[in-house]
């Protein structure tokens, strides 16, 4: 900011002369106003399509809403919607599954993504090709990849069913049993999203100066020691970003289970997002649906903040 303020007057005077008669402070103030005027339409748009719906959703979560011939009406404000959630076994089940899904998929994706990134970083001229190949799953629209996995898991002609039957002798009904359906869902997510994690981590890896590796080698550290004591501390900010992105995505996952299992069998793979959709749009239960959306946002928001604080403290400790 100080550099901008210090260099701003000269070109302003030279180009338009509008700043003549005003000091540097006046020119900066004019520029700020101009910037505000230009950005106002975009800010208003964001306010209308993002901030307002979020705030209104929170309002609805505290309301008893009915639909009449005059549209939907807020009848009264209440905390009953949250009370209904806390007494609902289905909500706890959806919360538990969403947490499990997030922890398992993010953990596995970080491990596999790190391995892939380490390999890619060592590759020479073939890195570009390998990167392109690796990105194929990520580049597929989730609806399409979910449909592909559905074919793979199909109990009549699915290749996964055929392979498992070849080993065990029994044809499994992969998407029909709670445990195997959950695992199948996680596998599909890990297959698709690991490349995304690998790319982010690779970006961090290539930023680490080569001298640091050479110094570690001169000090006689093993590959394992180099990874934990040289690579990881410097990779921590990138790693944090990868985790944050993935936790946010995984906790709000909707499209994959919607196509693959519809939250089933029963409600075994019902995530909070799927439950919110069902309550809000299938059952037309607006207040509780908004409460599910709000609590989901709060849980993931608080989780991310705690995670960021923990990693920031660790990063400070490392430095």
């Amino acid at each position: 900011m100080t550099t901008q303020a210090g260099t701003a007057p000269a070109p302003a005077k030279a180009s338009t002369g509008r700043g003549s008669g005003k000091g540097p402070r006046g020119i900066v103030a004019t520029r700020r106003r101009t910037a505000l005027i230009f950005s106002t339409p975009a800010l208003l748009l964001i306010l209308l399509v993002t901030v307002f719906p979020v705030l209104y959703s929170i309002v609805l979560s505290f309301a008893r809403v009915s639909i009449d011939y005059d549209g939907f009406q807020i009848e009264e404000f209440t905390v009953g919607n949250y009370g209904a959630l806390l007494q609902s076994g289905a909500w706890y089940q959806a919360l538990g599954f969403t947490l499990l899904y997030t922890v398992v998929t993010v953990t596995v994706e970080l491990v596999l993504g790190m391995l892939a990134a380490l390999v890619l970083e060592r590759l020479g001229v073939t890195r570009g090709w390998m990167l392109a190949l690796l990105l194929v799953p990520w580049s597929l629209v989730t609806i399409v990849s979910a449909q592909l996995w559905r074919y793979i898991y199909d109990s009549t002609y699915g290749i996964a069913t055929w392979a498992i039957q070849g080993v065990t002798g029994d044809a499994p009904v992969i998407l029909g049993e709670p445990v195997s359906a959950a695992v199948a869902l996680m596998v599909a997510d890990i297959w698709k999203t690991t490349p995304f994690v690998a790319i982010i981590l690779l970006a961090g890896l290539v930023m680490i100066p080569e001298e640091h590796y050479e110094a570690a080698e001169l000090d006689g550290s093993s590959a394992w020691q180099t990874f934990w004591q040289v690579v990881m501390p410097q990779l921590l900010p990138t790693f944090t970003i990868a985790v944050l992105f993935r936790v946010l995505q995984a906790f709000g996952v909707f499209d994959l289970p919607f196509v693959l299992t519809q939250g089933g069998p029963g409600t075994a793979t019902q995530t909070l997002a799927i439950m919110g959709y069902r309550v809000l749009f299938q059952d037309i239960n607006i207040g509780p649906g908004a409460a599910i959306a709000t609590t989901t946002a709060i849980i993931v928001g608080v989780g991310c903040l705690l995670f960021l604080r923990a990693f920031r403290n660790q990063a400070r400790g490392e430095s």
């Binding site: 700020r32 106003r33 505000l36 005027i37 106002t40 800010l43 208003l44 306010l47 209308l48 901030v51 307002f52 209104y56 639909i67 009449d68 011939y69 005059d70 549209g71 939907f72 209904a84 959630l85 609902s88 289905a90 909500w91 199909d154 109990s155 009549t156 002609y157 044809a171 009904v173 998407l175 029909g176 519809q262 089933g264 069998p265 029963g266 409600t267 439950m275 069902r278 309550v279 749009f281 299938q282 059952d283 037309i284 239960n285 509780p288």
Partner: protein, 443 residues
């Protein structure tokens, strides 16, 4: 022009607030439904019709033909087709949010036969009692009238229905000198014989996944046993009745006796059809299109070797039951062209359109008389003659909480059929969940 930041933010917040309040504010004066005109005037009007394709005999779209014919009777009314989403739930979601927000369009929408309860409760569909004479509804079978009504009022004009059938391998029955089964007990017996011959892997397959299709199957089996899952007013669950117990015991025995594969408990319509058209199953319960698909060389390896009959009953009963699928026309309560909307929706359900469906359509007409008309006889479709004799059993859709009621049915039925729950325990749980749902307390 000098604008300070505070002023800008206050202005933006004010604008957002104004827009928000405008969105929430009640709309202007709207005619009460009881005051709606029922005669179309001379002024040209356009009716937005939210609809999905209605299949013709050769897989085309019957809608242009219906619109053309309607135009001859009502030259002042133009029908503007608004394409519906392919998926039923997406349709419901879109229509729900649109109409609940007060949208005047679409004027008429194509909706599932299971929607009246929910749409009536949430004022998303127009009650028709004051707009249509009572005897208009006499032309439809009783089960369909029940499905279209809530608390004594009608909310949907039927367009076409779907029934379930038993599709079977005629070639294998002939090969082994077996008769077409006349009861469920005979389906079991014949299935075992055919599996023993090695010609098929499975006997009978159906849609047992944890979804709406399973509810259809359960409702049908319970009706076969002589019962219902709720009282007639759909206010109380009756899932622990002896009839429900008999039905669910039979469904569980299909798996334990090796007649139905466990995979069937993950089947939706297409998966069960695949099991049949690939030659793995001898009997299939599915909707009317499955017979045509199974007999088409392009889509089936058993084409030309497939027969069809009504779903049988249990030993000692002559009545055959099917639940009702299909679609009808709902009128948006916010429409600004009520007379034209009513004329279009009613015309689609009435004789002229229904006879076009019989002659040229690939679906089953809703009118009883159309099913037995000379046109229907000339069409020579076995589905028509079977449908004319069926007893229709509606799902308990006349409640605003039907999705949760249905969930209570299909989750527990799947668990019982899979052997994960004993029949008694599973039905007790089904009863409790249905009661909670009917009380509006399920999330």
């Amino acid at each position: 022009m000098d604008i300070d930041r505070r002023g800008l933010l206050v202005g933006a917040a004010g604008l957002a607030g104004t827009v928000a309040l405008a969105g929430c504010a009640p709309r202007g004066e709207r005619t009460e439904i009881g005051d709606w005109p029922t005669e179309v005037g001379d002024e040209p009007v356009t009716v937005d019709w939210w609809s999905a394709q209605i299949a013709t005999n050769d897989g085309g779209d019957l809608r242009p033909r219906l619109i053309e014919e309607f135009g001859k009777a009502y030259p002042n009314v133009r029908i503007n087709v608004v394409e519906a989403a392919a998926d039923t739930d997406t349709n419901r979601t879109t229509l729900t949010t649109q109409i609940a927000a007060g949208s005047q369009s679409p004027d008429v929408f194509h909706g599932d036969i299971a929607w009246p309860g929910q749409f009536a409760e949430n004022k998303l569909a127009t009650p028709l009692k004051t707009l249509v004479p009572d005897d208009f509804w006499d032309q439809y079978p009783e089960g369909l009238r029940t499905a279209a009504s809530v608390d004594g009022d009608y909310y949907m004009f039927p367009i076409y229905i779907d029934n379930s059938f038993l599709v079977y391998r005629q070639d294998l029955l002939d090969k082994h000198g077996l008769q077409v089964p006349a009861s469920w007990e005979e389906v079991v017996e014949t299935s075992k014989k055919l599996i023993d011959t090695g010609d098929v892997d499975y006997g009978f397959v159906y849609q047992g996944n944890v979804y709406e299709g399973m509810t259809c199957n359960v409702v049908e089996f319970v009706a076969d046993a002589g019962g219902l899952l709720t009282d007639e007013g759909v206010t109380e669950a009756t899932a622990t009745s002896s009839e429900a117990k008999r039905a669910l015991e039979f469904m569980a025995s299909l798996i334990t006796e090796g007649v139905t594969p466990r995979a069937s408990l993950t089947y939706i319509e297409q998966a069960s059809l695949d099991a049949f058209t690939t030659g793995r199953a001898a009997f299939l319960r599915n909707w009317s299109y499955s017979y045509d698909t199974a007999n088409s060389p392009e889509t089936s390896s058993v084409a030309g070797a497939v027969g069809i009959r009504s779903r049988p009953g249990f030993d000692g009963t002559d009545e055959t039951h099917t639940t009702i699928g299909g679609w009808g026309s709902y009128i948006n309560p916010h429409t600004l062209v009520p007379a034209a909307a009513l004329a279009w929706a009613r015309w689609l359900a009435d004789e002229d359109a229904q006879q076009i469906i019989v002659r040229e359509g690939g679906v089953i007409p809703a009118r009883t008389a159309s099913l037995t008309s000379p046109d229907a006889v000339a069409a020579a479709k076995p589905q028509y003659s079977i449908a004319a004799d069926y007893t229709l059993v509606p799902r308990p859709t006349a409640t605003a909480f039907y999705p949760k009621v249905s969930q209570g049915i299909y989750v527990n039925a799947n668990s019982i059929a899979a052997g994960q729950s004993a029949v008694g325990t599973g039905l007790d749980r089904m009863q409790r969940q249905m009661e909670t749902a009917l009380a509006g307390q399920a999330l």
